[in-house]
Amino acid sequence: MKISVLVNEGPYQHQASDSAYLFCAAALAKGHEVQRVFFYNDGVNNATKYTEPPQDDRNIVARWTKMAEDHKVDMVVCVAAGLRRGLKEEVLAPGFRISGLGQLIDAGIKSERLVVFGD
């Protein structure tokens, strides 16, 4: 099945980002296609390359980057939500790209399921 995901909460502050990642990993493991993960609201903070958690904690940003690279998942950060929060090209971690909200609607149109993770 073709699946896309919307992430509306930032990393570490909220479970939503972890749940979204684990959901995507489980879907990929089952042979489904994760077409796009769209980051909106504080979810845009999942894409900052300067994220450095303590060594005994999971690295949420690096985890998304690896998923993008290993499974060709399109990781898109909303430009308007990003600009509000200081998220620009120069702070973007590998595997992410910045684009418009239209990419969320496009995911809703092209995927068979669009799954929302938020508060």
């Binding site: 308007a80 418009g100 239209g102 609607i105 149109i109 669009l114 508060d119």
Partner: protein, 120 residues
């Protein structure tokens, strides 16, 4: 390709968090993509439509006028959950835009018909 049915579900109060404002941006973009858009207000989300918002003292933009303008974007399917309104002492007269007041069972039926449900 035929338009898909998108439903935006607003669950939070208009101010205090950014969810209502950023949901409204998704509503407008969905309409710009010429999709079939419904907008739902439940729980504290019903306050998003409350008349008479004064936001100057919290230095925040008042975006109530945008709800009134939704009709201009051909977004005319606005649903407010009756139970949420009753629990908060609100009636349709308290709201800035014409809406359909529906009970939760009816709303569940509408959700069932959607292709995409986005909740904020």
């Amino acid at each position: 390709m035929a338009a898909k049915k998108f439903m935006l579900v607003n669950r939070k109060a208009p101010y205090g968090t950014v969810y209502a404002l950023e949901s409204l941006e998704v509503v407008l973009i969905t309409a710009a993509f010429e999709q079939d858009v419904s907008v739902v207000f439940v729980d504290d989300g019903v306050y998003q439509l409350k008349k008479g918002m004064q936001t100057k003292a919290i230095a925040t933009k008042n975006f109530s006028p945008t709800y009134r303008a939704l009709e201009d974007y051909d977004i005319d399917k606005l649903y407010v959950e009756a139970e949420s309104m009753a629990a908060r002492g609100l009636s349709a007269d308290d709201l800035v835009a014409p809406v359909q007041v529906v009970d939760s069972a009816t709303l569940a039926g509408l959700m069932e018909q959607q292709d995409v449900v986005l909740s904020f």
